[in-house]
């Protein structure tokens, strides 16, 4: 029987619930996360006895000692850290499925941190985008965009669209959460 399994599971900021649920279900089947790579999307699992473990993903730009000590005090184990994202896990028994965020207000604030970073990333594209578009149009360079440049341009626009999509989905998520507050 295979002891190690590798899965490519893309996930994003706006559906952290999906990846959390997936990892929890895997562990219930006896596969425990050993390591993550490639922007936390390539997951290596190790065969273990099936167990109940809650996986949670947090976004924190400048985690300090206080952050790590608090989570560890509460019994959470850090699985992986990447670019502001931290993945935590905690084993539990039948009655008490734990969570990092236990009220919607703090979840809204966590999401707001992600939205802020995405917003800055988008804003940063505006001046460069403007200057380049203006340059291409006024100098009639449209016809001179060759093959490799076309590919680069396409990839760039795709990346920006993905960030824009993530930004929009996060804002919508927060809108729904805020409705449940007073």
């Amino acid at each position: 029987m295979k002891e190690v399994k590798r899965v490519f599971k893309p996930w994003s900021a706006w559906n952290t619930i999906k990846i959390e649920k997936y990892l929890e279900e895997m562990e219930m089947k006896g596969w425990r996360v050993k390591d993550l790579s490639f922007c936390q999307m390539l997951i290596e699992f190790r065969k273990v006895p099936p167990g109940k473990t809650r996986y949670c993903v947090d976004y924190i730009n400048k985690p300090d000692d206080e952050y790590f000590m608090l989570f560890q005090d509460d019994g959470w184990e850090m699985v992986n850290k990447f670019s502001g994202w931290v993945m935590w896990r905690k084993s539990y028994d039948a009655e008490s499925r734990p969570s990092l965020y236990t009220d919607n207000e703090s979840l809204v604030e966590r999401n707001a941190r992600v939205i802020k970073i995405l917003g800055f990333a988008l804003l940063a594209q505006v001046p460069a985008g403007f200057i380049n578009a203006n340059n291409v149009l006024t100098n009639n360079l449209l016809g001179r965009i060759t093959g490799p440049l076309k590919l680069l341009l396409f990839t760039y626009i795709l990346a920006v669209l993905i960030i824009l999509y993530a930004f929009t989905r996060m804002i919508l998520w927060n809108k729904i959460l805020k409705k449940s507050l007073y």
Partner: protein, 100 residues
């Protein structure tokens, strides 16, 4: 009482209320989680993400103060502003209960 703080914290979430209540005695973050779990008969177990975010927010707004650091953990206590805002919330809750 500062209008901005009033609008931000009143009415209070259960989490905020219990954090301020807990911090009438100095504690570190995990101490708050334990204490609130105890006094609510395990009904309210606050998560660390929520605690960290709320403590940071309250410290910034002057509701609580970090007294010192012990074993790489901050020890917090409620500040005068926090006590005042807690009083406002208690009055609000009293009115609700008294009208029952």
């Amino acid at each position: 009482m500062n209008d901005r703080l009033m609008n931000k914290y009143i009415p209070m979430t259960e989490t905020a209320y219990y954090i301020l209540l807990s911090l009438r005695e100095e504690k570190h973050g995990y101490g708050i989680i334990q204490h609130v779990g105890l006094i609510t008969g395990k009904r309210l177990i606050i998560g660390p993400g929520t605690i960290y975010g709320t403590l940071s927010k309250m410290e910034k707004d002057g509701l609580i103060v970090a007294l010192r650091e012990e074993n790489r953990r901050k020890v917090y206590k409620i500040a005068e502003t926090g006590k005042a805002i807690l009083e406002v919330e208690i009055d609000r809750l009293r009115e609700l209960v008294d009208n029952y």
